[in-house]
């Protein structure tokens, strides 16, 4: 049984006050996430990631389609006890302290009163807020709020965890902690579905990723498979600050550092480049294949289209 099954979920918003017109935020989406997976949901700004998560949480109603979580319709209240959700830029009742907020969410999630206090304390510890429990949330920094958000998402020990950009607003240490936490969740047997546009995080964490762009699913798979389909590149390093014209002609990007030259060019031009170096009597230091990253994948596949011009981190 899949942990999450998305069956043609679709959302068209109506925008404009006077002249109403449709805005297709999500085209029919089909996707299955297996139990115990860390699944990355990637896409540029405005791709439809948050829209998908809001549909899964029942916060907006779908134009068409449905979804099942743990085999039960996603809108069934029984599902809600088994899932956790961290919204994008979470915001909470700012008149509560972190401890009170977690207590409250524990109550709503049906955690028995006798376990609640202990769980809340342990959770504050786990997300790195052991001393902030009695501070009102209106005095929290963005990163601290993000941590509280993560805490409420996993407090009740859910089976499936949905995180909308869990690393945003966190400092490098915090990002690292969240990465570790997601890995821990997987070890505990949970399914984690998270959206991000920080590609390195997705590469480091995900068993599989889906890439969505302009509301449309582009590809699903293991990161290595997605990137291996790309034309590989190689990096050549040689001694001397000279770039033969024949190598430039191959379309190499060259950088000089101290007295060595570094050039990156397509894999199939490698032999021609080596020949050129030999002709010029330049000493070759190394040849290294450059592994394609998700970033390369994004740049190659999505840049040409009319996407918002935000640069991928």
């Amino acid at each position: 049984m899949s942990a999450i099954q998305i069956l043609g979920l679709e959302k068209t918003y109506t925008i404009g006050f006077w002249r109403k017109r449709p805005k297709r935020a999500l085209r029919p989406l089909h996707l299955a996430v297996e139990e115990g997976e860390i699944f990355g949901f990637l896409g540029p700004n405005g791709a439809g990631k948050t829209t998908t998560l809001k549909l899964l949480m029942g916060l907006v109603s779908p134009t068409a389609g449905s979804a099942r979580i743990l085999g039960i319709d996603a809108n069934d209240p029984r599902v809600k006890a088994q899932i956790g959700f961290l919204p994008e830029q979470p915001y909470f009742y700012d008149y509560l302290t972190a401890r009170e907020l977690l207590e409250y969410y524990g109550q709503l999630s049906g955690i028995p009163a006798k376990d609640r206090g202990g769980k809340v304390e342990a959770m504050l510890q786990r997300v790195g807020l052991p001393d902030a429990g009695d501070i009102q949330l209106r005095k929290f920094s963005k990163g601290m709020l993000q941590r509280v958000g993560i805490a409420q998402a996993i407090l009740h020990d859910p089976k499936v965890v949905f995180l909308d950009e869990p690393m945003s607003g966190l400092d490098p240490m915090g990002r690292r902690e969240v990465r570790d936490l997601i890995e821990q969740l997987k070890k505990e047997g949970k399914t984690v579905f998270f959206s991000t546009h920080i590609l390195s995080d997705a590469e480091a964490l995900c068993d599989r990723v889906a890439i969505i762009h302009l509301g449309e699913l582009r590809s699903v798979g293991v990161v290595a498979d997605l990137t291996s389909s790309m034309h590989g590149k190689v990096e050549l390093i040689w001694q001397g600050a000279v770039v033969p014209a024949s190598i430039r002609a191959l379309g190499a990007e060259c950088h000089l550092s101290a007295d060595t030259m570094r050039a990156v060019l397509a894999e199939d031009k490698q032999d021609a480049a080596i020949d050129a170096l030999r002709r010029e009597k330049l000493r070759l230091v190394s040849i290294t294949p450059v592994r394609a990253t998700l970033e390369d994948y994004f740049l190659q596949n999505l840049r040409s289209e009319n996407a918002p011009s935000e640069v991928m981190a």
């Binding site: 809001k54 029984r78 979470p90 915001y91 109550q107 709503l108 049906g110 998402a153």
Partner: protein, 258 residues
């Protein structure tokens, strides 16, 4: 289900109690009760009349203001600030949220009314040195005031479920004002003819009849309140509030959270 509603209600109560607006309004109301004593001292005979009239009116007016000012934000503010994203990712149904909010604010108002009523009775005791038997009718007047609060809370929630706090405030406040003259409006409606009469009567019955729930001046004169009126008023107010709540739920169930 019941547990979740009570948790939401308790949290709504906690929110109100931590809001400074509440204390300002209560302080104002008590100030008004104090002023009633001063006004009453102008003439010894009408002291009690003035204290009861002004005191209970202050309780009712400020309670209404609290109900409107807190009520209009109950739903729309949570949509605006997106605090509902996490709320509805928990096993909370939308109607439970609305009902919990209603009871939370209603509870806040009951506690307030209780505190302000103590103020009124203290003022009464101060001017007349002892309570009289007819003063017991003040309790009925206070009960009717609470019934009005239930209605206006439900109305504020209804508006809050589909419009902005500002518009909700305008709507709820106009209904409060118009509703205070509901009996007169029904009278006017009865004087018209034909289709107009149907429409006017319909409209007159649609607006909340706060004037029937206002027995302040008669209890100030020491008049009794009939059991029949207590029964009709209770049934009317509860029915009206329930209907407005149902409307709020129906609208809110269908809403996309922005």
């Amino acid at each position: 289900m019941k547990a979740r509603i009570s948790y939401i209600a308790a949290n709504t109560f906690r929110e109100a109690v931590r809001d400074r607006v509440l204390y300002n309004l209560i302080a104002f109301a008590l100030l008004l009760v104090g002023a009633a004593i001063l006004v009453g001292q102008i003439s010894i005979d009408i002291e009690r009349l003035v204290v009861i009239n002004l005191g209970l009116t202050a309780v009712s007016l400020f309670g209404m203001l609290i109900a409107i000012f807190i009520g209009i934000g109950l739903v729309s503010k949570e949509i605006e600030k997106r605090t509902l994203y996490t709320m509805f990712s928990r096993p909370v149904r939308r109607w439970e949220f609305i009902v919990g909010k209603f009871f939370g604010l209603a509870g806040t108002l009951v506690v307030n009314t209780f505190l302000m009523a103590i103020g009124v009775f203290a003022a009464l005791l101060y001017v007349s040195h002892h309570l009289q038997k007819p003063d017991a009718w003040l309790l009925v007047a206070l009960y009717f005031i609470i019934l009005q609060f239930l209605m206006i809370t439900a109305i504020a929630l209804l508006f809050s479920s589909f419009s902005s706090p500002l518009l909700s405030a305008v709507f709820a406040f106009s209904l409060f004002v118009v509703g205070s003259f509901a009996e007169d409006l029904r009278g006017f409606a009865a004087m018209t003819k034909g289709v107009t009469r149907w429409l006017a009567t319909g409209a007159a019955y649609l607006i909340p009849n706060f004037s029937a729930l206002n027995v302040i001046s008669s209890v100030a004169h020491g008049e009794a309140v009939s059991g029949q009126l207590v029964f009709y008023n209770s049934a009317y107010a509860l029915f009206y509030a329930a209907l407005a709540l149902c409307g709020a739920v129906l609208i809110f169930e269908r809403r996309d959270l922005k």
